[in-house]
């Protein structure tokens, strides 16, 4: 592990319920959903992880425990080090606290995760869809959302095709 990350990882494993994972020289910490805000706060205030590079999710369907991982990539400008946090979430309609209070740019990324994966962020100031149209049904990046091709709908066959698309009128 990178020597610059060691103190931060040690402090977090000592104070919170986290578990470090290393893959290809990249360190991730598995954090429980209720502790994510305090973990981020400790990393930002005490270890200068001052930038949230991105935030996204991974879907492991058909597994349900955990079904999702929320991935946070933190960057420290003074230390030039990357550290990622992963939050496992169970079930089909998961929710976790928002990180907007710690990193303001989590706003759009959390909206994207809600839009694409249907994960709710409690306390988010503006949890609307961001990439898909506002009246869209379903969350496209979920693994149980079919990729499939789109049949072109004309006036004469629009309803007939709608019937074959359960996800369009769920």
């Amino acid at each position: 592990m990178d020597a610059k990350l060691q103190p931060a990882v040690d402090a977090l494993t000592g104070r919170l319920n986290v578990e470090p994972v290393e893959f290809r020289d990249q360190v991730s910490l598995l954090v429980q959903p209720d502790q994510i805000v305090s973990a981020a706060q400790i990393l930002r205030d005490e270890f200068q992880f001052d930038m949230l590079t991105f935030l996204t999710a991974v879907d492991y369907w058909p597994e349900l425990a955990p079904r999702f991982h929320i991935v946070y990539m933190l960057y420290s400008v003074p230390h030039n080090a990357n550290l990622s946090l992963r939050v496992p979430l169970e079930g089909n309609a998961p929710h976790l606290p928002t990180l907007e209070g710690v990193y303001p740019n989590a706003n759009w990324y959390e909206r994207e995760v809600w839009d694409m994966f249907g994960v709710r962020f409690d306390g988010h100031s503006d949890l609307r869809r961001i990439l898909m149209p506002a009246d869209w049904q379903g969350h496209p990046l979920r693994k149980d959302y079919p990729l499939g091709y789109e049949e072109v709908q004309f006036t004469f066959n629009a309803e007939e095709i709608d019937l074959r698309k359960p996800y369009a009128r769920e």
Binding site: L52, V58, M73, N105
Partner: protein, 409 residues
């Protein structure tokens, strides 16, 4: 089956101030079909006379579900779609995707391929900055720069066509190296280009850098501080224009950038003009890198010899049974990648551009996430535009250098 989602006006009321509800300020829609939004960006503006009170970006008009599509394709085939994301930095997108895949499967790249990768990525950076220079000056009514800048950009596109057969969507960089070696006339074309551009760049600068009208429209407009940039995850020229020399080519070098001698230009104003100065200086630094890469271009293979991941040369297919089998397996099944997630990032013309790829043991990724700089940088639009005129908004959008394909994916 439930009914169609309905959007209620009440759900959107929190976006605007109280004054908008009483009609004291005006709500104005800008885009998505507006020439100065550089694509299909829609802005909802709240105006007090001509002053912007609030600016709410609405993105997603160019969303094509590329990430979802990539999950259904093998690692080699998914690469074709990376070009279509940030369509002004196509070679850079290929590079960062390949870096991530190479990190995931632990694959080495020969030195000649590394050098050509750097050379082409820097040329693409120059092309992107030239297009930016032309279009953002055009937004501020300086028309001639646009025509000149496009002329030089065309020379770069010709070089890309020479090596890959396509002007923009090259897919030239492949996991483990390159598609094939560059043609013999390549070195002469690049040498010719880097001899011509510095003089031309001086000409463009003489049109803008000290132009009183340009200064009037750019100085002190859309100011942001280093602290705000870090807080909002802003990278690239916008961050460097506030004085912080943060560049991934120096901070976390990839593809052998540590061997090249170049500087990171910065400015201190944090306004549109500083961003302009930083980008112009960056073009000159990129030229330095291209020159060095051209001088040191080593001989040797351009593809890794690891047949598990890289197809055999075409010439072997008619003589070797193993080569046929390897080729067939690679293009039907693809190669398996281990479980685990990697993140690789490069410095694109707009900022940090990264791929998070998660393998699941099979030949298709579990998840591909594209960290585009535009998505991150566009989020500060309200911050930059508050208190400025609507006419300045156009300059501010141009100065962030947005590419909606990069933002919406």
């Amino acid at each position: 089956m439930t009914e169609q989602n309905e959007i209620l006006l009440d759900e959107l009321k929190h976006l605007v101030s109280e004054r908008a509800l009483t009609g004291e300020t005006m709500l104005l829609n800008m885009g998505p079909q507006h020439p100065s939004t550089h694509g299909v960006l829609r802005l909802l503006l709240e105006l007090d006379g001509e002053i912007v009170v609030n600016c709410i970006p609405d993105i997603g008009f160019l969303h094509t579900g590329i990430e979802k599509n990539m999950e259904a394709k093998t690692y080699q085939k998914a690469e074709v779609m990376t070009d279509r994301m940030d369509y002004l930095n196509t070679v850079g997108n290929n590079l960062v995707y390949c870096l991530a895949v190479e990190k995931l499967v632990d694959l080495d790249v020969p030195p000649r391929a590394q050098t050509i990768r750097v050379l082409l990525t820097e040329l693409t950076r120059i092309a992107s900055h030239l297009l930016w220079m032309g279009t953002s000056a055009l937004d501020l009514a300086a028309m001639s720069v646009f025509l000149y800048a496009m002329r030089e950009r065309e020379m770069i596109l010709d070089i890309l066509e020479m090596v890959s057969g396509a002007r923009m969507m090259t897919t030239y960089i492949r996991p483990g190296g390159l598609w094939r070696d560059v043609p013999v006339e390549f070195e002469e074309a690049v040498a010719n280009f880097i001899n011509i551009l510095p003089g031309r760049l001086d000409e463009y600068e003489s049109l803008l850098t000290t132009n009183a009208l340009f200064l009037e429209r750019t100085e002190g407009i859309g100011v942001i501080t280093t602290q705000q940039c870090i807080q909002w995850g802003i990278t690239g020229p916008v961050l460097r224009a506030t004085g912080l020399p943060y560049d991934l080519r120096k901070a976390r070098p990839y593809s052998g950038y540590e061997q090249y001698d170049f500087d990171i230009p910065t400015a201190t104003g944090g306004d549109i003009y500083s961003r302009y100065r930083v980008r112009v200086a960056e073009v000159r630094q990129s030229l330095r890198i291209v020159r060095q890469a051209l001088d040191r271009l080593p001989y040797g293979p351009v593809r890794s010899n690891n047949r598990k991941f890289v197809p055999p040369p075409r010439s072997e297919l008619s003589t070797s049974m193993e080569a046929v089998i390897q080729h067939f397996k690679l293009w039907t099944e693809g190669f398996p990648a281990p479980k685990g997630s990697v993140y690789a990032a490069i410095e694109s013309p707009r900022g940090e551009l990264g791929f998070l790829i998660e393998g699941n043991g099979g030949s298709r990724p579990q998840r591909v996430f594209y960290r585009g700089p535009t998505f991150a940088n566009l989020q500060i639009m309200p911050l930059l535009s508050k208190g400025h005129f609507v006419a300045d908004l156009v300059g501010i959008i141009g100065s962030i250098d947005i590419v909606l394909g990069d933002c919406d994916r």
